[in-house]
């Protein structure tokens, strides 16, 4: 629940999603759901030449189960807030 709420706050930010198949996609976070499925807009693939089939894809839905990393802008994270939220979740959950 915690990361779902956290990503909801990040909607609108530029992120890079790295998938388990090594594909990395940069785009604007459009939405997220409870499974941490991600929808990105204005997408471009990091290594475009290696993935020619992705050339005309501008929006995509990424299944949460295939995400390895979500790379965030360094100033997009309030680490202390996250820290507190995690502590609260650990205590309550």
């Amino acid at each position: 629940m915690l990361f779902f709420l956290y990503f909801k706050d990040l909607v609108g930010q530029e992120v890079t999603v790295e998938l388990k198949n090594d594909l990395a996609i940069r785009g604007t976070l459009h939405s997220v759901d409870q499974y941490l499925n991600i929808k990105l807009e204005n997408t471009r693939v990091v290594d475009q030449d290696k993935y020619p089939h992705m050339l005309s894809v501008r929006n995509c839905f990424i299944r949460g189960s295939v995400v390895r990393y979500v790379q965030l802008p360094p100033d997009g994270v309030d680490v202390d807030l996250l820290h507190d939220a995690a502590r609260r979740e650990a205590r309550g959950g």
């Binding site: 198949n21 594909l23 459009h30 939405s31 499925n37 997408t43 089939h53 894809v57 839905f61 295939v66």
Partner: protein, 153 residues
């Protein structure tokens, strides 16, 4: 994914916004399917109509028609909406027949197998152990180079 109300389609993560659109579906086994999304559910199971598989080998590609497909959600990596105004593939790519692309796939697979085999043989020649054997690192390096050349030839 919950069922979205008409306006929610634009803000939620449901696939409702992609219904009846031409999509690219990437599967876990590396396949690329394309077609029209007709139905989906909370597991990202999807019904794709007029589906075809786009096989890409180097600069060659081929679209193999598949018909009506139901994809089990656990195999889905990504569902991408194709921008109709943009070219789907780079200009240098050439469309070929199914037989040709299968030939190219086979050749690529054999090349990968050979590369893997070569790499295994090279790794077997551990430089540090050889240095101990020859008591001289330079001789060990020379030995490894000669062995690698012999393996390749």
């Amino acid at each position: 994914m919950s069922w979205a109300a008409p306006d929610d389609i634009f803000f939620s993560t449901s696939l409702a916004a992609y219904l009846d659109k031409k999509l690219l579906v990437l599967l876990r086994d590396g396949r690329k399917l394309m077609g029209l999304l007709r139905s989906f559910d909370q597991f990202a199971n999807a019904v794709i109509e007029e589906a075809y598989e786009r096989v890409i080998v180097g600069d060659l590609y081929c679209d193999i028609p598949l018909g009506l497909y139901i994809i089990r959600g656990e195999n889905v990596v990504l569902i991408g909406e194709l921008d109709v105004e943009k070219e789907e593939l780079p200009a240098q790519m050439v469309q070929v027949s199914e037989a040709e692309i299968k030939k190219a796939q086979k050749a690529e697979k054999e090349e990968m197998l050979l590369k893997g085999l070569m790499r295994k043989r090279m790794e077997f020649l551990d430089l540090d152990k050889l240095a101990i054997l020859f008591e001289d690192r330079e001789v060990a390096e020379l030995y490894k180079v000669i062995m690698c050349v012999c393996v390749c030839v």
